[in-house]
């Protein structure tokens, strides 16, 4: 096609005329090229096409919808050239029908839209899950903190009752209450440590240089009282001091022994071994009994993971080993497990002996 500068047709070939449903006579001098565009195309023509034609003399591959005489839209790709002929500006245009390209592009646009929707949905679900997890962890923290007060009352009450004269039956009940209270206190301690490790600044330790075997022996003695009727032994290798938080180490041993008592046979020996080497010291807890399935060994230190065959008496919600690992980490140590049918199960926490550089920043751990 050819038009004047203002878009008025001065000529069009038969192919174009057939496409748009006008005769050459109906176009020439009577219609403007932009009259054949839809409104979006007209705006585009004025804001993009004409300025470009003016500035660079040509324009390539513009896709517009040309409106047929009968009102239907035909997607076309158009190239245009601006020429000066005998002092007058003329525009020469070449058009190509682009139905297939149009279909293809629409599909591309559609699938991009679908993808964007899916992406938004996925992001939203992920955010929701994060919020829920955070909320749950905060709830654990709040609830376990608030449970301490009623437990303190129970502790005081049972202590008072024990001082008085009780017959054997009542004595047994009070002792049972006291044990249950101790277990609840430990559980709440675990929950608070868990929340602090996940949300707060991590588990805190105050390390001092101590004789390792001495403090392990103290812990084992206390545990032997708690698990009276079970077989518990302490073995020592090497000798020397270790930089350690004694309360946290006792907590670590307590959790490992509790675990060993649960999963080891009731008549089988549980062994706590403390070892002092040149560079490191370690505490290992061994029990006999069914091994931990290999698939579980890799994630057993994650919260809420439980060995399948629990007898269910002293196991709580599966925070014990998670806290063991956090305590080990806070001491710059690590904890591992070996477990098989022949040798039984051994959890070993290994620590460097050197005093940690002050202060050890233990960041909250998030999976």
């Amino acid at each position: 096609m050819q038009t004047t500068q203002d878009g008025t047709f001065t000529g069009a070939n038969h192919t174009f005329c057939a496409w748009v449903g006008y005769s050459p006579e109906e176009l020439s001098g009577k219609l403007k090229f932009q009259d054949l565009l839809n409104m979006g195309g007209r705006i585009f023509h004025q804001t993009h096409w004409l300025p470009l034609l003016q500035m660079q003399g040509s324009i390539a591959e513009v896709k517009v919808e040309i409106i047929h005489r009968d009102g239907s839209a035909i997607p076309m790709v158009i190239n245009a050239l601006r020429r000066v002929e005998q002092g007058a500006v003329v525009h020469q245009l070449a058009a190509f029908v682009a139905r297939d390209r149009d279909k293809y592009e629409r599909e591309l646009v559609l699938s991009r839209k679908r993808f964007e929707e899916l992406f938004r949905e996925a992001t939203r679900l992920q955010d929701e899950a994060k919020d829920r997890a955070l909320f749950a962890e905060q709830m654990i923290g709040i609830v376990s903190h608030d449970l301490r007060n009623p437990l303190a009352s129970i502790a005081m009450g049972t202590a008072l009752l024990m001082r008085g004269e009780l017959d054997e039956g009542k004595q047994r009940v009070v002792t049972q209450i006291s044990r249950s209270k101790d277990r609840a206190t430990r559980l709440i301690g675990d929950l608070l440590d868990f929340t602090q490790a996940r949300l707060g600044k991590g588990i805190t330790v105050t390390a001092r240089r101590l004789e390792l075997h001495t403090i392990v022996a103290e812990s084992v003695d206390e545990l032997a009282l708690a698990y009276s009727g079970r077989l518990l032994k302490h073995e020592q290798n090497g000798d020397g001091t270790a930089s350690v938080d004694s309360h946290r180490l006792a907590q670590l041993i307590g959790n490992l022994v509790s675990n060993a008592m649960t999963y080891g046979g009731a008549d089988k020996l549980v062994t706590v071994t403390s070892t002092v080497d040149e560079e490191t010291f370690s505490v290992a807890v061994h029990n006999h009994g069914k091994p931990i399935p290999p698939a579980l060994q890799g994630k057993i230190f994650e919260p809420m993971t439980r060995g399948g065959q629990s007898s269910g008496t002293s196991r709580s919600v599966g925070l014990g080993l998670y806290i063991v690992r956090q305590i080990a980490k806070a001491h710059r140590g690590e904890v591992g497990v070996t477990s098989n049918e022949a040798d039984g199960t051994t959890f070993t926490a290994t620590f460097p002996r050197a005093t940690p550089p002050p202060p050890p920043p233990s960041a909250p751990t998030r999976p």
Binding site: G7, T47, M55
Partner: protein, 249 residues
């Protein structure tokens, strides 16, 4: 003299006018953020979700590059951007030259803006279907321009290339803007350059603005299209010169 281009292309639109006026004034040209060679990293979809974002930029540019009050020349949507900038810092503007302005593109009751909402949707669709060739992300094609050898290796469409997402938002912000309430607040002297045949800023819109602007003159330029500074630079310059002489600027 500060020139601000409209929706579609970039500061190259001003080539004839800026050349002419650079002898008399210090001319300042810029690309709106998101257009031309502006830094796309500076494009903040929140800030540019209204013309005020662009107007804040104009005030910043004027404060940075002009000593005294400026003559602001705004084409199309930039006429309104200039108006908003003027209302933010009136002491910085001596005159507002509006080329093809429109305070509201969509018809609204008695007001004839020239478009319906469906028209704007149709524009967005056209922009989208020209995604490939117009996207600044795509490798540009090179094409010769036989009549203008100096542009022989100029990148095709480069003056109007933009990021497609930016182009879409800018189109929405432009064509859905309604600044009719702000128009009567403008105190500066305001010549309106109105084309005889412009679908984007029809004559009724120019007349409306002339009525509503307290200190305006209306110059009608014989021109088909929305860019008289490109297709009728001589007539545009005549109209601006006439105004500048009258105002002794």
């Amino acid at each position: 003299m500060v020139f601000a281009h409209g929706f579609g292309c970039d500061q190259h639109m001003w080539r004839f006018l800026s050349e002419k006026y650079s002898a008399r004034y210090r001319t300042v040209l810029f690309d709106l953020v998101g257009s031309g060679k502006s830094d796309l990293k500076a494009y903040d979809p929140k800030k540019y979700n209204s013309l005020h974002g662009y107007a804040d930029d104009v005030v910043e540019i004027v404060r940075e590059f002009a000593e005294g009050p400026v003559i602001f020349v705004g084409h199309s949507v930039s006429a309104m951007i200039g108006l908003l900038a003027n209302l933010k810092a009136p002491e910085r503007f001596a005159a507002q030259i509006m080329v093809g302005p429109s305070p509201c593109y969509i018809n609204d009751g008695d007001y004839i803006g020239g478009f319906t909402r469906a028209d704007i949707e149709s524009l967005l669709e056209t922009l989208e279907s020209n995604y490939l060739g117009w996207s600044s992300n795509m490798a540009p094609a090179i094409m010769g321009a036989p009549d203008q050898p100096q542009l022989g290796v100029e990148l095709t469409n480069s003056f109007c290339r933009t990021d497609p997402d930016v182009a879409k938002q800018f189109a929405r912000v432009t064509f859905l803007s309604d600044n009719r309430a702000d128009v009567p607040k403008l105190k500066a002297s305001t010549p309106i350059l109105q084309c005889t045949d412009d679908i984007i800023a029809p004559r009724a819109v120019g007349q409306y603005l002339h009525r509503q602007l307290p200190n305006s003159t209306l110059a009608v330029i014989e021109n088909v299209g929305h860019c008289p500074h490109l297709s009728a630079p001589g007539l545009s310059i005549d109209a601006i010169d006439g105004f500048l002489a009258k105002e002794r600027l």
